[in-house]
Structures are given as structure tokens and as C-alpha cells.
């Protein structure tokens, strides 16, 4: 039995699969995975050509689905919700394999946990640093008390820095491998629509673009859609959207009949993109952040044709809008609370102590109103949408 420890094997499962395959070619066949210690156990045998597939599935039982059995898959190792399947058939004879979605979603959740940890640790570190800096600014010196307990402080600092390093490594590694997996799975569809798109390579600085900034459109996506459609009718063809989604680059050309659709997705799957793209929708924008995934789709239609719609059933559209508004509300409520407390304190100081009202003191109040307006606009959007659908059905 050969034991190999791979601490970060799950961050890039494709790499791990390749590694397992190489091991089998050298005569080491995977027998067991011990997840807690990240240890792979191998048995020595004759070298074999094996392909591996790692899957993560919440609802999977100990028995493989018949479709996978028929295609030659067997379970090489399983631990928790992870399964490592092996197959001795040549790759071109394998007609079915588990999807990547489970792994992608799981790893994304892991990276969210590391994001949380990172923010917390950086916050703690900054708070300590600012105490140090402010005491140094006040009297120009920092008195260091000799104490045997300093060892503990340094140990904690080392641990904190180590944890920050681990968090950054995990986030970057997961982001990279998730993107690669998504791209591979929707690669065929992507290649198809890329070739159908006009190859209009214009550098951003060429001056040929009509640039328009649009901030906060996420809180009223329907308004963005109708604005884009109106621009197209006037011959302003949307060429692309800036990386963070706030600047829209148009090219002046022929008026087009276009249907635009902007939507929020909490999880992104390759099947999501391929269903839309196969149906003829063109993805013109996808936000970078995995937590706030916004996608803008568009599709041209001819005169006399019905305007293409992404939702044929109002309830599925409303459900998505409601989820988006609900999620942002939950995200913004703690901020609202903090700003309200701060604004109230500034206000009390102004009333009771006659402190001067500065712009700085007004900031919490401004932030409070701003975030409240975001929440208001999202629910207003939802209500508009609901009204639209009820009119449509009457």
C-alpha cells in the first residue's frame, strides 16, 4: 500500500484526475481516499490505462446510476459526498459521465467561506495596526513591555498571516479551476456562437465608440433592457460592456430590433449558458464576481416576428426576480442597521453638543438613504414585473 498526501486535491479535480491516471500508468491503482487527512492509498499492480472522474453530489447513494455502470464506471474510492470513479474503457467509448456541477458549486462555497475568513482576519489585523499607528502618532514612541507572553502574540501573528495566505491561495486556485471547468463544458456552444458573431475588433481607444455610463442598473434590470433596446432602435449597437458592468460601448450603425435581458444568477452552470446559447441568445456581458453573477443576454429579431423572450412562463421570471430582491435585501439590512446607528449618533452630537455638521458627519446618513433606495428600487422592479405579467394574462 502506497500512501500519498495531497492537501489541496479537491481545488483542481481535473489535475487530480490526471495525476491518478499517471499513477495507474505506473502501476499504482487508487484503492482508498481518507478525506480528513487528505491521503490517497494505492495498491501496486500491473500498469493500466484508467480514466478517472471525481464527482461531488449531495444526493448520491452508494450505488452508481445504471447509466454510469453501463458505460464502464466503477467506484474506486468514496468519502462523504465525494466519489472517485474509474473506467478502463478508452475515452472515446465512454458515452456518459457525471457532470462537474457538484464539484464547481461545492468549491465555490468553500471559497466563500475563505472570503469570510479573509475579511475577518484582515479586519482584526487592521484594527490592531491602527491602534499601534495611532499610539505612535500621539507620543512618537511605542513602548514595548517585555513579557514572556510575547511569544504567544508572535505565534498568533504567524497563524493569522498563514491563514490569510491559505485563504488567498484557496480562492485563487478554486476560481481558476472552476472557470476552466465551466469553459470546457460550455466550450462547444461558445465556439458556435463566437463564429456567428461579427468579428469587430476595435480598440477601446479608437474613438469609434459611443460610451455611456450606467450605474446601479442591477436594481432595475428592466429599465436597462428597455434603454438598450431603444438605443438599438436609434442605431446604437451595443458592442460590449466594460469589465465591471458600468460602461456600455456602442457603435453607430444600422438600427436593429433587439431583445435584451439582464438577470442575476446565484449559481452558474455550464448547462445554463448552453441552453440559452443553443436557443440563439448571445451573451454580451457576464460579471466577474462569482457572488454577484449578472449576465446580459441579447437576441436580434426580424420585423413582423414576435419579440423573443427568455421566460415563457411568468411565474419562473417572477421567482427569479423575487429571489434577487430578497437576497440583496438580506445582504443590505446589516449595512442599513450600521449606517442608521452611526447617522443617529452624529445627529445626537449635532443636537446635544452643537458639534459642527460636516460632510463627513453626514456620510452615514447619505449611505443609509442610498442603500434604502437600492432595496426600494429592487422591490419596485419586482412589482412592475408582476403587474406586467398580470396585464399580459388578462
Amino acid at each position: 500500500m502506497k500512501k500519498i498526501i495531497k492537501p489541496f486535491w479537491s481545488y483542481d479535480v481535473e489535475q487530480t484526475e490526471d495525476w491518478l491516471q499517471e499513477m495507474a500508468e505506473q502501476g499504482y491503482i487508487l484503492k482508498k481516499l481518507h478525506r480528513a487527512s487528505r491521503t490517497f492509498y494505492f495498491e501496486q499492480a500491473a500498469p493500466q490505462n484508467l480514466s478517472y472522474r471525481i464527482s461531488f453530489d449531495r444526493n448520491q447513494g452508494p450505488v452508481l446510476a445504471s447509466r454510469f455502470l453501463e458505460n464502464g464506471w466503477t467506484i474506486a474510492a468514496a468519502s462523504g459526498k465525494w466519489q472517485i470513479l474509474q473506467n478502463s474503457k478508452p475515452a472515446n467509448e465512454i458515452k456518459a459521465a457525471p457532470v462537474r456541477q457538484g464539484v464547481i458549486t461545492h468549491n465555490r462555497n468553500v471559497s466563500f467561506v475563505f472570503f469570510g475568513l479573509l475579511f475577518y482576519l484582515l479586519g482584526v489585523l487592521l484594527a490592531n495596526l491602527s491602534t499601534l499607528v495611532s499610539s505612535w502618532l500621539q507620543d512618537g514612541t511605542v513602548a514595548v513591555e517585555p513579557s514572556p507572553l510575547w511569544a504567544i502574540t508572535y505565534l498568533f501573528l504567524a497563524l493569522t498571516l498563514g491563514a490569510i495566505g491559505l485563504a488567498i491561495y484557496s480562492i485563487v486556485k478554486i476560481k481558476k479551476s472552476n472557470q476552466a471547468m465551466l469553459q470546457k463544458e460550455s466550450g462547444i456552444a461558445a465556439a458556435k456562437w463566437k463564429s456567428s458573431q461579427p468579428t469587430l475588433e476595435i480598440p477601446e481607444s479608437s474613438g469609434r465608440f459611443v460610451k455611456k455610463a450606467k450605474l446601479g442598473w442591477m436594481y432595475a434590470p428592466d429599465r436597462l433592457e428597455s434603454w438598450l433596446e431603444k438605443m438599438e432602435q436609434q442605431g446604437y449597437q451595443l458592442h460590449h460592456v466594460g469589465t465591471i458592468g458600468t460602461v456600455f460601448y456602442f457603435v453607430k450603425g444600422e438600427p436593429r430590433r433587439m431583445s435584451y435581458h439582464a438577470e442575476y444568477m446565484s449559481t452558474v452552470e455550464s448547462s445554463y449558458f448552453s441552453i440559452y446559447e443553443d436557443a440563439g441568445w448571445l451573451k454580451i456581458f457576464e460579471s466577474w464576481s462569482a457572488m454577484e453573477k449578472w449576465v446580459i443576454w441579447c437576441r436580434e429579431y426580424k420585423e413582423g416576428e414576435e419579440k423573443p423572450r427568455i421566460y415563457s412562463e411568468g411565474s419562473s421570471h417572477l421567482k427569479r426576480a423575487r429571489r434577487m430582491a430578497g437576497l440583496y435585501t438580506v445582504l443590505f439590512l446589516p449595512l442599513l442597521f450600521i449606517y442608521a446607528v452611526n447617522a443617529n449618533r452624529e445627529f445626537q452630537e449635532f443636537i446635544n453638543e452643537g458639534a459642527a455638521l460636516s460632510l463627513f458627519g453626514l456620510l452615514p446618513a447619505i449611505a443609509f438613504v442610498l442603500f434604502l433606495s437600492f432595496i426600494y428600487r429592487m422591490w419596485a422592479y419586482y412589482i412592475r414585473l408582476r403587474k406586467n405579467y398580470s396585464v399580459f394574462h388578462r
Binding site: 463544458e185 438577470e263 455550464s270 441568445w281
Partner: protein, 109 residues
């Protein structure tokens, strides 16, 4: 989700859900479902991509359908045993509707 809960949640079925399940006589791609539904409904139904995707995701979560990747790594949707049970129950309900529709149709003519 257990069978009783699934039956309660899905029956009576929306037209979209019914036709999506009905099209899964064999594993299909997402857009393959849309095309097939268009065909068997005589081009009456054009399912929107977002509606299909949302419904498929929900059904997958409830264990009514399952997914796998084909040799081109594209996702195929497939019926589960629970899904078969569900569509049969709904077909039974629709048969009753149809029987009664035919039986009493004449009274309104």
C-alpha cells in the same frame, strides 16, 4: 424529497412542467427539450430558455430528473424512477379530465 411530497408539489402540473417531463422519453439536452416540445405541441408551445432552465433545476433538486455529461461534456437530462411515477400519476389525472370532457362535451353544444 419523498414521493408523496413530490406528488403534492407537482400535481396538478403546469403545461411547461408537463411537457418538459413528457419529452424525457429519452435523455435530452436542454435545448433538445425545447425543440421536442415545439414539435409535439404542433409549434404551439415555445418554451423560453430561462423558464426551461429554472424548471429543470427545480426538478433536479427534487429528484424528479437527473443529469449526466455526454462525450462532448454537454449536460443531458434524464428521468428518474420518481419522475416516471410522477408523470404517470399526472397522465392518469389528465385521462380522467379527458374522459369527463368527452362525456359532457355534448351538453354544451
Amino acid at each position: 424529497m419523498n414521493a408523496d411530497k413530490v406528488m403534492k408539489k407537482y400535481i396538478p402540473m403546469t403545461e411547461t412542467a408537463f411537457y418538459i417531463l413528457l419529452s424525457l422519453t429519452e435523455p435530452r439536452h436542454g435545448y433538445g427539450i425545447v425543440k421536442h416540445v415545439e414539435e409535439i405541441s404542433g409549434t404551439r408551445l415555445h418554451l423560453g430558455s430561462g423558464t426551461v432552465y429554472g424548471t429543470l433545476t427545480k426538478m433536479q433538486k427534487d429528484g424528479v430528473i437527473t443529469v449526466f455529461a455526454d462525450e462532448e461534456r454537454k449536460t443531458l437530462y434524464e428521468m428518474t424512477d420518481l419522475g416516471k411515477q410522477l408523470i404517470l400519476a399526472e397522465i392518469g389525472r389528465l385521462k380522467e379530465l379527458h374522459r369527463n370532457a368527452v362525456k359532457y362535451e355534448g351538453d354544451f353544444l
